[in-house]
């Protein structure tokens, strides 16, 4: 279980980016984190991962997010960064996907099997030996997701997993997410994807929680969404 109690965070003094957030995420929940640009979604994820200092209390399975526990906590969390260029650092896709399993003590043989399985699951087997700098933006996105799935984390944190993906790959990612029993926190501006993958939604606005609850109830609430610089998901809007 993940618990935030009165969590605040600022990058620079006086510029509060997260403001007194409190919420709980139960095990195997899928939670969509939505909000306008600059609302603080990526920051919230970074705070949870112990990448930024914060005030208040954050716990993951009753372990407080602090220096002492950070190793144990990070073992439970897998994070897909918003910018895949910053996620991939090994020369080839294959080596990158294998990086985490090897670090977590898996034998090379097992790690290779795991890597092959994840790449196949995402339809990336052809990319296996390609160089990271020679693949397209969307391919890099898929590969970045593979690097995190290969970790087999308890909690999956995804920062805009479907940005830059074509409809086919987007669907693969949605299906993959739905097939995983893990706890998931997904940030996205693709509200239809959030609707497809999440039962709960937290709506952030200028670092505060504007609403949280059942995904359908929030995502069908036009006034609430528009008051927070969002729009109805395409499947609910009557435009076409």
């Amino acid at each position: 279980m993940i618990r935030f109690e009165h969590v605040s965070c600022e990058y620079e003094k006086g510029q509060t980016v997260l403001n007194d957030l409190s919420f709980e995420i139960q095990n195997s929940d899928s939670v969509g984190l939505i909000g306008a640009n600059g609302a603080g979604k990526s920051t919230l994820m970074k705070v949870l991962l112990g990448l930024l200092p914060y005030q208040g209390l954050i716990t993951v399975d009753d372990l407080e997010v602090n220096k002492q526990n950070i190793k144990e906590i990070r073992r439970k969390l897998g994070f897909v960064l918003q910018n895949s260029d910053n996620q991939m650092f090994m020369p080839t896709v294959y080596e990158d996907v294998m990086f985490a399993p090897l670090n977590y003590g898996m034998s090379r043989e097992k790690a290779e099997k795991r890597t092959d399985a994840v790449l196949a699951q995402l339809g990336l087997s052809d990319l296996k030996h390609r160089h990271n700098h020679k693949i397209s933006g969307g391919e890099k996105r898929m590969a970045a997701i593979a690097t995190v799935l290969a970790m087999e984390p308890d909690v999956l944190l995804m920062d805009e997993p479907t940005s830059a993906l074509d409809p086919y790959n987007r669907r693969i990612v949605i299906n993959t997410i739905n097939a995983l029993p893990n706890t998931k926190i997904i940030t996205s501006h693709d509200l239809d994807m959030i609707l497809d993958t999440c039962q709960k939604v937290i709506l952030l606005s200028e670092g505060r929680i504007a609403a949280q609850g059942n995904a359908k109830e929030i995502l069908i609430n036009r006034e609430l969404l528009e008051a927070n610089r969002m729009e109805l998901p395409l499947c609910f809007s009557q435009k076409y």
Partner: protein, 270 residues
């Protein structure tokens, strides 16, 4: 292609070269590393006037290049920026050391000229040997080999991260110059008035990126030591190669082979 993109792709071509296959590529990285280190050590140790003895050391890089299938010109092309620097090292010797050493016909050749040529050749030979190592072995394998000979983890990790960071930096330069050019058409290079902010931005951006990359590594269990690709145990051929090469280097270093054959050819005594 842009100059900077060209630089980036040239750097990455080293990885492509290392991924080729040849008898040299398939040798054990540790064997190659030890042979290269000894080669450099012995080459540098030649007396500064021992030009005839040194010349024989050219054999190793020449043979290695031809067996590995990498053209020597690739080496000189890629090292074109360092080579002049290496060659410049002994440039002033002829002015300081004017004692005549030998005569070619009527022309006297001073010690300074010989030592200059010797120094240049030493530099070039060492560069060629290092290039052969880097072009036939992946960076990971070199690092794994360095760890095998107990070079501290800190140094090896630093080496690998520096190598990776260079690509990140070049990437950022490429993105920024492209963005600049697209909004300053017809302008050659970057105007000097923008240099300050350009460099500052470059530093900040590449540092940000490096930091985020490092976070990404930490989040995936990195605790300061890379899990290098398993280096398979050395085979008989690797031992043979190392023993033979090292033996040959020592022989060349101890015996002046060029003058040995020269004296045989001239029928004189040693």
């Amino acid at each position: 292609m842009d100059r900077i993109d060209h630089a980036a792709s040239e750097l990455r071509e080293m990885d492509d070269l290392a991924a080729l296959s040849s008898p040299i590529h398939s040798l054990h990285p540790l064997a190659k590393l030890i042979v290269t280190i000894l080669y450099i050590f012995l080459t540098v140790s030649f007396n500064k006037y021992d030009l005839s003895g040194l010349i024989v050391m050219l054999l190793y890089p020449v043979i290695a290049f031809s067996v590995s299938g990498i053209p020597i010109r690739t080496c000189f092309y890629k090292l074109r920026i360092v080579l002049p620097l290496v060659c410049a090292v002994g440039l002033f010797n002829p002015f300081f050391d004017r004692v005549p050493l030998l005569y070619i016909g009527n022309i006297s050749v001073s010690c300074g000229v010989i030592s200059m040529i010797t120094l240049m050749l030493k530099g070039v030979f060492c560069l060629m040997a290092s290039f052969i190592l880097v072009a036939t072995t992946t960076m990971d394998a070199i690092c794994a080999a360095l760890r095998k000979i107990h070079i501290p983890n800190m140094i090896v990790t630093l080496l690998l991260l520096t190598y990776r960071y260079i690509s990140v930096m070049i990437d950022e330069v490429s993105i920024m110059t492209t963005a600049y050019k697209l909004r300053a058409p017809g302008q050659k290079g970057i105007h000097y008035s923008a240099w300050g902010s350009f460099l500052g931005q470059l530093l900040l951006r590449s540092m940000d990126r490096a930091e985020e990359l490092y976070s990404s590594m930490q989040l995936r269990g990195f605790c300061g030591e890379f899990q290098y690709a398993d280096v398979p145990p050395a085979k008989l051929i690797d031992y043979l190669y190392a023993v033979f090469a090292v033996g040959a280097f020592f022989l060349c270093r101890m015996v002046n082979i060029a003058s040995f054959f020269g004296s045989i050819a001239l029928g004189g005594s040693l």
